[in-house]
């Protein structure tokens, strides 16, 4: 199911043909947000990289679960609680299948991707890392894959090493390999940059990390949306993603971890649901995943995430990816024709995320002005300040595409950008 190979490089003619059958209007009809008007214009939503819109299938499933299937999980000896528990655990199985995990026990529900990183750093990191041990991240990480390691560094004296990228945003494999050594304990790299759109060679990264004797973790917050993941094929030890970018609700994220690794990790937070037996003298903890899900979990959110996965599967991840490649190619070409516009991130393997700057117009001003045309993009540092510094920028504008975007959205964006340029002319 992974399609992270050459998704942009060679467009398979078959994929192109399939994209003709991609019924974007039918998909748009499923997303109520596509009917929203902003400032008297139909919304042109190009900020799915920050958070995606939700199809009615997700909204209705959550609504129904709240109305008719709601009780706390793992507790009540009554039918409704059994049903809620079943739904919740089925959602875990759905996620496991979606990522091709070997077992549903390898899926831990968290609040978001950020919480999943913090879980690994607090639990696995504190137990296994000592002063001088090294973690390798890349220069294009989201703060969620930087700050938790810095907190751990302040506590334990570990060393954080940074794998470089080139000016186009390509991940530099040789330079990365040179950073690995006997002290490397963890490699934690993004599958897809949320700023540059770069897709990293995760399978190769995993192979090299393992050769060095390190564990490997991937940030799939963007990658799982645009390319999917097969954690067994890639041989990831940890993989995180967040529900709200995958057309699901907020408040739910996933940590995948290989079972033998999870079994040897201490609890992250303590409380109800994660214990076997509690006395004031001693408490024993349950096996994963329960050990890492203290307290009442995001029940309805998990059910919503499973509905989002069903929806994505009903369209087909490959079909979505094919459609997005067309959008990316169209956007790259159309934006490239705007005088003074520079695309930041031209990696050989890219997904449908396009960051750019326009000479003489600050990204924030771009954002405000094109919003007057109903166009929603992100302007700012995208929670990746070290990457911004790498390119000598304080901010970029970013258009990111989802399954519901159409080519016309790019044209509306281009017109709106020309309007912004006109104001600043």
């Amino acid at each position: 199911m992974t399609m992270n190979t050459a998704i942009n490089e060679n467009i398979d003619p078959k994929a192109g043909k399939r994209a003709n059958f991609y019924d974007v209007e039918a998909i748009r009809a499923d997303f109520p947000a596509m009917k929203v008007e902003v400032n008297g214009h139909p919304l042109t939503f190009l900020d799915s990289g920050a958070s995606a819109q939700k199809p009615v299938q997700v909204l209705e499933r959550m609504d129904q679960a709240y109305r008719e299937e709601y009780a706390n999980v793992h507790r009540g000896a009554y039918r409704l609680s059994e049903l809620a528990t079943e739904n919740y655990e089925n959602a875990r199985s759905s996620v496991a299948r979606f990522m091709n995990a070997a077992s549903a026990d390898e899926i831990i529900f968290t609040r978001n991707a950020t919480a999943a990183f913090n879980l690994v750093s607090s639990s696995w990191g504190r137990k296994n890392l000592r002063a001088g041990d090294e973690i390798v991240v890349s220069h294009m990480e989201h703060h969620a894959n930087i700050v938790p390691w810095q907190l751990l560094r302040d506590e334990t004296g570990i060393v954080i090493k940074v794998a470089p990228i080139d000016d186009d945003g390509n991940f530099l494999m040789d330079e990365f390999a040179a950073l690995l050594g006997a002290k490397t304990k963890l490699v934690s790299i993004t599958q897809t940059s949320n700023v540059l759109g770069t897709m990293t060679p995760i399978k190769e990264i995993a192979r090299l990390a393992h050769e060095a004797g390190a564990l490997v973790m991937f940030d799939g917050a963007q990658g799982i949306v645009h390319a999917g993941i097969d954690v067994q094929d890639v041989d990831a030890d940890f993989y995180v993603f967040t529900g709200h970018k995958l057309y699901g609700p907020t408040g739910i994220g996933v940590l995948y971890g290989k079972l033998d690794i999870l079994k040897n990790m201490p609890p992250y937070q303590g409380g109800g649901d994660m214990i076997e037996m509690v006395t004031f003298e001693k408490t024993t903890y349950r096996e994963p995943p329960a050990r890492f899900e203290a307290g009442t979990p995001p029940i309805i959110e998990a059910i919503g995430l499973a509905a989002a996965i069903d929806y994505v599967n009903s369209i087909g991840q490959e079909a979505i990816a094919g459609h997005e490649v067309e959008l990316l190619n169209h956007a790259t070409k159309a934006l490239g024709q705007i005088d003074g516009l520079t695309i930041i991130g031209q990696a050989r393997q890219k997904c449908a995320i396009v960051s750019f700057t326009i000479e003489g117009v600050h990204p924030h001003d771009i954002g405000t002005i094109i919003d007057a045309r109903g166009v929603a993009i992100r302007a700012g540092h995208h929670c990746a300040q070290p990457l911004m510094d790498r390119f000598g920028l304080a901010a970029t504008a970013r258009a990111s595409f989802g399954m519901y975007n159409k080519k016309e959205d790019v044209d509306v964006l281009v017109d709106a950008l020309l309007y912004a340029k006109e104001i600043f002319a």
Partner: protein, 160 residues
């Protein structure tokens, strides 16, 4: 097409603002400015450094700035550094109060301040277009927060 929003955009990006944004005044690092502070808008990563020198009489003798940001934040810093020269710290604080009210559009400018700073408020009015864009109010006020911090001896100002 919603003309009202286009009018709001034109009001926000008036000629004066675009001019100050492109050619900011007092955009320099003076050798003899003992007071300075860094202003930071954590939402967008925009950064300003404001430099101030107070005279014997505690009036602002020189104010300048450096940094990068959107047209609104740069224009605001440019205009502010010009307007505050020759003003006392107490005057700066009263004028900032009036300016803040203009930018948020919440409430009326204090009548005494409106009279005292009639000309300055007239000039600063070009920035009041931000009140239609709540996300941008902080862009307009960042320089003012920062000069306040410089004079009150705080190191950093943040719009958060």
């Amino acid at each position: 097409m919603d003309d009202a929003i286009d009018d709001d955009i034109r009001a926000l990006y008036q000629e004066v603002i675009l001019d100050h944004g492109k050619n900011p005044r007092n955009f320099r690092h003076p050798d003899d400015a003992p007071l300075e502070a860094h202003g930071n808008n954590p939402l967008c990563g925009d950064k300003l450094t404001v430099y101030v020198r107070l005279g014997e009489d505690k009036k602002i003798e020189d104010a300048a700035f450096e940094g990068r940001g959107c047209a609104i934040s740069i224009a605001s810093a440019s205009m502010m550094t010009g307007i505050l020269r020759g003003k006392s710290v107490a005057e700066m604080e009263r004028l900032f109060g009036a300016f803040h009210t203009m930018c948020t559009g919440e409430g009326e400018i204090d009548a005494a301040a409106a009279e005292e700073f009639e000309d300055d408020i007239d000039k600063l009015k070009v920035l009041s277009g931000v009140k239609q864009f709540p996300m941008r109010v902080k862009c307009a006020t960042l320089a003012w927060h920062t000069i306040n911090a410089a004079i009150l001896g705080e190191q950093d100002a943040s719009t958060e």
